[in-house]
């Protein structure tokens, strides 16, 4: 006996050896994920055919094989990235776990100078997840892929018991091509280089936090989750002196810059007055006692570029909708290697230290 939810639609019954009726085929219509959907049998195929492939599978060939066989351009360097996506809530202002997964994969490729080509999508689904949510997430992934011009070419689905997953976990692998001669790296930063950011910081983390129970803030703020390939290509097109690009996610700008400073063994000095922040993000950070430099982003680019090209790069970024608020926010320095500092409007300097864990709202 299988657990049933939703309407039951019996298609037919098989006669048993004595001619009597046997148990009907489990070809019911479910409204939620059940364990059978991950067992590799008919239910799995149904899930693929009725939910996943209509959204994600554009090529019949791929859907039926265990692998995708692809052609690559004749020249260039192969870039590969992998990521897992876990987020609560699954659907949030400005996106969902699906669009987040596509953008995150595209961005990890783009910041290395790669043109994103293909990606995979593996799902771990929790028993009980509403199929409508899965439909929404997969359609959202498709729309994000079309926008970012990347194709999902293969994937996998597993189901875990209720209580053993957070609705959906998504894991991706992305593949792209980096033109010959482009070698961006966090180890490339040198004193004198400029630090450029593509827009306002902290939008994603604050949009998610504001909606949480127990915080109760009303805002029109949305996650900034977005694909950054066009912007990164614009940056590389504007300058041959780009040392490194990153998309700061968890841990915010602070994590990213601390990583670069450590990798290049340089100091980074930021100017608080130049850091773009939306009024709403500022308001929430003041109210909850949070540092916007440590709040997550999902659609921002940080660029370390030689000083002579910094202005040109900013101008080029500002012509793109995702770079409208691009700004130079600091520079790479010889002083205090591996340490990031922030100069306040008062002229005092403090260290921007890596947080030990998650930033929590405070009352003190």
């Amino acid at each position: 006996m299988t657990a049933r939810t939703g309407s039951v639609q019996v298609v037919g019954t098989l006669p048993g050896p004595t001619g009597a009726l046997a148990c009907p085929l489990p070809t019911d219509t479910y409204e939620a994920v059940v364990l059978g959907h991950g067992s590799g049998g008919r239910l799995s195929q149904e899930l693929l055919a009725q939910v996943i492939l209509p959204a994600l599978g554009e090529d019949e060939r791929f859907a039926l094989e265990d692998q995708a066989v692809l052609s690559l351009p004749a020249s260039g360097q192969l870039a590969v990235t992998t990521d897992s996506f876990v987020i609560r809530p699954l659907i949030f202002p400005g996106g969902d776990i699906g669009s987040l997964a596509v953008h995150g994969t595209v961005n990890d490729l783009a910041v290395g100078g790669a043109r994103p080509l293909y990606m995979t999508a593996s799902f771990i689904l929790e028993e009980g997840l509403e199929l409508n949510v899965l439909r929404r997430v997969t359609r959202s992934m498709r729309a994000a892929c079309d926008r970012a011009r990347i194709r999902i070419v293969t994937g996998d689905t597993k189901v875990v018991d209720r209580g053993k997953g957070d609705g959906i976990f998504v894991t991706t692998t992305g593949v792209g091509i980096v033109p010959e001669g482009v070698r961006l790296s966090a180890t490339n930063a040198r004193p004198g280089d400029c630090v450029v950011v593509s827009g306002t910081l902290g939008d994603h983390g604050i949009a998610i936090l504001a909606a949480r129970e127990g915080i109760g803030l009303e805002t029109t703020l949305e996650s900034d989750s977005a694909p950054l390939f066009e912007l990164s290509a614009t940056v590389l097109g504007a300058s041959a002196e780009v040392r490194c690009m990153r998309d700061p996610t968890r841990g915010g700008l602070s994590s990213t810059l601390n990583e670069i400073a450590a990798a290049s063994n340089v100091g980074i000095a930021l100017d608080e007055t130049t850091i773009p922040l939306r009024a709403e993000v500022r308001g929430v950070c003041e109210l909850l006692g949070l540092d916007p430099l440590s709040v997550a982003n999902e659609g921002k680019l940080v660029v370390i570029v030689g000083p002579d090209d910094a202005e040109r790069v900013v101008t080029a970024m500002r012509r793109h909708p995702l770079g409208a608020k691009a700004a130079i926010i600091g520079e790479v320095v010889e002083d205090h290697p591996k340490i990031v500092t922030l100069r306040s409007s008062l002229g005092s300097e403090r260290i921007v230290a890596l947080l030990s864990g998650e930033q929590l709202p405070r009352i003190c």
Binding site: E213, G214, I215, G216, A279, R282, G283, E286, L287, L288, D335, H336, I339, T341, R343, S344, S345, L346, G347, S348, E349, R350, I351, A353, S356, G357, L360, P361, R362, I363, C364
Partner: protein
């Protein structure tokens, strides 16, 4: 943001720093009482911008750091229960008790939720009538009215599954204990602007008169703090005492009578243990008998566990302004925010934690105090 940005104006700060420099003729030791003031001072680097003769010491104004170990252990025992939703301000999540902390308990399956307001915890109780909801009600006098309101509404609206674990502390008795001690070095005080918004100034006049210390009630933004420091220094230079209110946009002489009435109707004064300072008479708040049903210690009958502080910790001396975080040999080495040894490293508000977060390390490369634009005239 109005009433915020204008008090961070760099030009105003520079001008106040010039005035302070002009005023100082001898070294002075000034204590800022409130943890929020400490946080702001370290974040904006105000102590590094001041002329060298003024030493700012950080007081015990951190209700998170002074929460007694016994109370923390009680909180953890309650939070671990499967029938409880434990609600708390974010500050308390990583504060270690004798054996664990709320975040670790959450990882093991306890239902621990961060809330911004006690009224949010009350809403959770109303939405989950079959579970016990406990709110960790800590704070100084500033937070007492909000906690009192939550208790009162729970009673009025018969939200019977809601209770509070109370650990409230009062500033003036702690102040007296610090400045009344034989080894006291503090000569002037920056008074706590948000506490005084509620309580008014009378108790601070008493402290000022009894101990001959000028107290200047100040706000939290750079200009407020610098104006406060300027007035303390002037009072010290001219030998004048008394209480001076430099946060008039929020603090009135009588405080907030409606808030005081609300607090009196729910809480009563009691003796209170302060982590790092010991027991101070009549320095805490407890729920009155009328509110016994809203008292989580009564509802859950938790046993007191005897706390044991590591002997290396000098937070008692830091809270009294006798030592600085950098004076402690364990600072940044055996004692960090991830593995704190005592009160002042335990919360993000404590002096040691503030120093650590903003990068003050023993032996760290000395950062320039001022850039060209920031130098006082």
């Amino acid at each position: 943001m109005k009433y915020l940005d204008e008090y961070r104006d760099p030009d105003g700060a520079r001008r106040l720093l010039s005035l302070i420099e002009r005023e100082v003729t001898r070294p002075w030791v000034v204590m800022e009482i409130c943890g929020g003031q400490t946080h702001s001072i370290v974040r904006h680097g105000i102590d590094e911008l001041l002329p060298g003769g003024i030493e700012l010491v950080h007081g015990p104004g951190c209700p998170v750091c002074v929460t007694p170990l016994g109370t923390l252990d009680r909180a953890h025992a309650i939070a671990a229960r499967t029938d409880v939703i434990f609600c708390s301000f974010g500050d308390m999540l990583r504060v270690p008790g004798s054996s664990t902390d709320l975040l670790a308990l959450k990882a093991k399956g306890a239902d621990v939720r961060v809330v911004y307001s006690p009224l949010d915890a009350l809403a959770i109780a109303a939405q989950n009538p079959s579970r016990n909801v406990v709110f960790f009600a800590i704070g100084f006098e500033t937070t007492a009215p909000a906690n009192a309101m939550a208790a009162r509404l729970a009673r009025q609206r018969r939200i019977e599954n809601f209770s509070l674990l109370v650990s409230h502390v009062l500033v003036p008795p702690a102040l007296t204990a610090i400045v009344g001690a034989d080894d006291n070095r503090v000569q002037g005080l920056l008074g706590p602007g948000h506490v005084c918004t509620i309580t008014g100034l009378d108790e601070y006049r008493t402290v000022s008169e009894r101990h001959g210390l000028p107290i200047v009630v100040s706000g939290f933004e750079p200009l407020d703090l610098l104006m406060g420091i300027l007035h303390v220094v002037r009072a010290l230079e001219h030998g004048t005492g008394g209480v001076d209110n430099q946060y008039g946009r929020s603090v009135r002489q009588q405080g907030n009578p409606a808030a005081q009435e609300l607090v009196r109707s729910v809480f009563e004064v009691c003796d209170q243990a302060w982590r790092g300072l010991g027991v101070i008479a009549e320095s805490g708040l407890a729920l009155t008998d009328e509110y016994r049903e809203q008292d989580a210690t009564v509802r859950f009958g938790v046993e007191h566990i005897a706390p044991r502080e590591p002997s290396e910790c000098i937070s008692g001396q830091i809270l009294r302004g006798l030592k600085k975080p950098l004076d402690c040999p364990a600072f940044g080495a055996r004692c960090t925010p991830e593995r704190p040894l005592g009160a002042t490293m335990v919360s993000s508000e404590g002096a040691c934690a503030a120093y650590h977060a903003y990068g003050r390390r023993p032996g760290a490369r000395h950062l320039p105090l001022l850039t060209n634009e920031g130098a006082p005239a």
